[in-house]
């Protein structure tokens, strides 16, 4: 079973668990472009809750927000995270509902979106938009780093464990292509940060498809590194980040996509503000190459493991 299939089964279970849940998305009634709604489509009892719509790039997030305001729990299966950029003005709007005067209402919508390299598409599909989403108010943004966490994150996000705000779950295409481990738990779990490796020399903040190469680089280089997976990209857990930075005094931030004005900038800024006196070395950001990447070059959007290893090695042993 691959990650997509296990997510598909989890989505069907989510529909069974709460009759307010509905699935939206391109070709949702026939399983969807990625197959995420396949298990639900195979269950006749769930089929009425697969909601097909024409292509509505501008209004889909706002439409889903309206469904939520009417009492439903829509789960929107996007074909690409880039669709959130096309519907950004509407996404911003539904994030604001809770903050408006005139009576608070929240719009508990979950957007599940594949992102990054992995399918050979290049261009917009490999653009990292976390920092743009994080700048909007009232939005929760999560990401999946390891295949075994995909279902737990999905379930946690769909049950709005943290807050009944509009929520985005970014699932790297590299993770989708991986096999789903047998021992993966289906219990929801949405930790804002997870210390997935402990060490004393340096602290690496990372998320998404960068997590695995970071862990591999640390292991291969026998680095005494703490690795913190940022599971919740927005809002960031400032205290946990600052504490982990202070613990070692050497900080690296590694993620897919270009680094300039990316989410790593905010993490670096938090460290420079709240952990500066603990730092023994400049903060390091490692990401993919700048610019638009053609389909054939899409892996340039990822930090290669060799580059990660070299950078972390130098930070650990200057």
């Amino acid at each position: 079973m691959n990650v997509t299939e296990s997510m598909s089964l989890a989505l069907a279970d989510l529909l069974r668990d709460d009759p307010r849940r509905v699935l939206l998305g391109e070709d949702v009634v026939t399983g969807g472009m990625l197959g995420w709604s396949r298990a639900a489509a195979d269950d006749e009892a769930l089929r009425p809750r697969l909601v097909p719509l024409p292509l509505l790039p501008v209004s889909l997030p706002a439409h889903a927000g309206g469904l939520a305001l009417a009492g439903l729990r829509p789960i929107v299966l996007l074909s690409t995270a880039f669709a959130l950029l096309e519907g950004l003005a509407g996404l911003r709007e539904i994030g604001l509902w809770a903050g408006r005067s005139g009576g608070e209402r929240t719009a508990p919508v979950l957007f599940v979106a594949p992102c990054g390299a992995g399918f050979g598409l290049g261009d917009e599909s490999v653009e990292a938009l976390e920092s743009v989403l994080a700048r909007l108010h009232g939005l929760q943004v999560y990401s999946v780093g390891r295949a075994e966490d995909a279902v737990a994150r999905l379930v946690g996000a769909a049950t709005f464990e943290h807050a009944e705000d509009p929520t985005v779950l970014l699932v790297p295409r590299m993770v989708l292509a991986a096999a789903a481990p047998d021992d993966a738990s289906n219990a929801g779990s949405l930790a804002a940060t997870s210390r997935v490796r402990e060490g004393r020399t340096l602290t690496v903040f990372t998320w998404g498809e960068a997590l695995e190469p970071v862990l591999a680089a640390c292991d291969d280089g026998a680095l005494d590194a703490t690795v913190v997976e940022i599971g919740r990209l927005a809002p960031l857990d400032r205290d946990a980040i600052v504490e982990a930075a202070r613990d070692t005094g050497r900080v690296a931030i590694v993620h897919a996509g270009s680094v300039g004005h990316g989410l790593g900038a905010e993490i670096a800024a938090l460290v420079a503000e709240h952990a500066l006196y603990y730092l023994d070395a400049p903060v390091l950001r490692v990401g993919g190459d700048d610019g638009v990447h053609a389909a054939a070059d899409e892996l340039r959007s990822l930090p290669a493991q060799g580059r990660i290893a070299a950078a972390l090695g130098e930070l650990a042993n200057p």
Binding site: V22, V51, L53, P54, L56, P57, V58, S59, A62, H63, A64, G65, G66, L67, A68, L69, A70, G71, L72, A89, G90, R92, E93, I94, W97, R100, S101, G102, G103, E104, R105
Partner: protein, 301 residues
């Protein structure tokens, strides 16, 4: 009556310029005096707000009929999504003058929503409230209720992509959504921003397979009747509709019969339901309420 150059083409009416009701059946179920009071209150509010030098405020005088009619047609369980200039919807639907004044002073006249009254807040992105309204209507339909969602807009917003996507979603899923569009008439030529393409907004909605009516906004009864039919259709599961209301803004100084208040006043007068004392009483009441509300609002702001 001869139509004047001020009267819209291809728009239905039942109340002629003199206030004679051509088709009595149009007003069945309508409390005409109550409607008139709501229109007067809306006008008084507009006058009050116009005096306040609020940033970006634009008067709605002459365009009250679709606002009040929507609020009167909507039931408690229905939701209304007004645009930024549709504050009179809230007044008619029962937002108290004090709360209304407080919200105008804090959020501005365009941002008066109230979840308890099922009135949504307008959106910052032009026309995005229409998309949320469509989703809301979609949710009502999926939940199997008979509730209706109303959304208001102006003709300028009909050129925005989100208006089109709203029509598409409503048509594709047969949503219980009633769109009420104020189409302003431009006596001396429309600006590009009025977005006059094709014959009419109603015509464009019909092209998407949506039931529509184009009515004269100077005739409050025609506006109410079209909105009521649209709402009944939505409630009966017959799908979405668009009511286009051709309005004349009083800032253009049109002849008196283009003013929906005056048109309905003539009707009440002809049918023995209006006196100048009555007018004085209802105006004094709402003016008093607004004056107190805004005086207090200004103090605390």
């Amino acid at each position: 009556m001869e139509p004047t150059p001020w009267d819209p083409e291809g728009a239905t009416w039942v109340l002629d310029a003199d206030g004679d009701l051509a088709d009595g059946s149009a007003a069945v179920g309508l409390d005409v005096r109550n409607y008139y009071k709501a229109l007067v209150a809306a006008r008084c509010l507009d006058v009050r707000l116009s005096r306040m030098n609020l940033p970006m405020f634009a008067s709605s005088a002459g365009e009250e009929a679709p606002l009040c009619a929507t609020a009167l047609v909507a039931r408690d369980e229905d939701w209304i999504y007004p645009g930024v200039r549709d504050i009179a919807v809230s007044l008619t639907r029962g937002l108290g003058p004090d709360e209304l004044a407080r919200r105008v002073m804090s959020d501005g006249p365009g941002r008066v929503g109230q979840a308890a009254l099922r009135i949504a807040s307008p959106t910052a992105a032009l026309g995005m409230h229409l998309a949320i309204a469509a989703g809301h209507a979609h949710g009502q339909r999926l939940a199997g209720t008979h509730a209706v969602t109303f959304a208001l807009l102006g003709e300028g917003t009909t050129t925005a992509g989100v208006f089109h996507e709203t029509l598409v979603a409503a048509a594709a899923r047969d949503l219980p959504l009633v769109l009420v569009c104020r189409s302003q008439l431009w006596p001396s030529g429309a600006p590009a921003e009025a977005g006059l393409v094709g014959d009419s907004v109603a015509d464009r909605a019909r092209g998407c397979g949506i039931w529509e009516r184009r009515v004269d906004g100077a005739d409050p009864i025609a506006v109410w009747a079209a909105t009521a039919v649209a709402a009944a259709r939505a409630r009966d599961g017959k799908g979405p509709s668009l009511v286009e209301v051709a309005t004349t803004q009083l800032i253009h100084d049109p002849p008196a019969h283009r003013d929906p208040l005056e048109r309905l006043r003539r009707h009440l007068d002809r049918t023995g339901q209006w006196t100048s004392t009555y007018q004085d009483v209802i105006e004094a009441e709402i003016r008093g309420q607004l004056d107190r509300a805004f005086a207090y609002g200004t103090e605390v702001a």
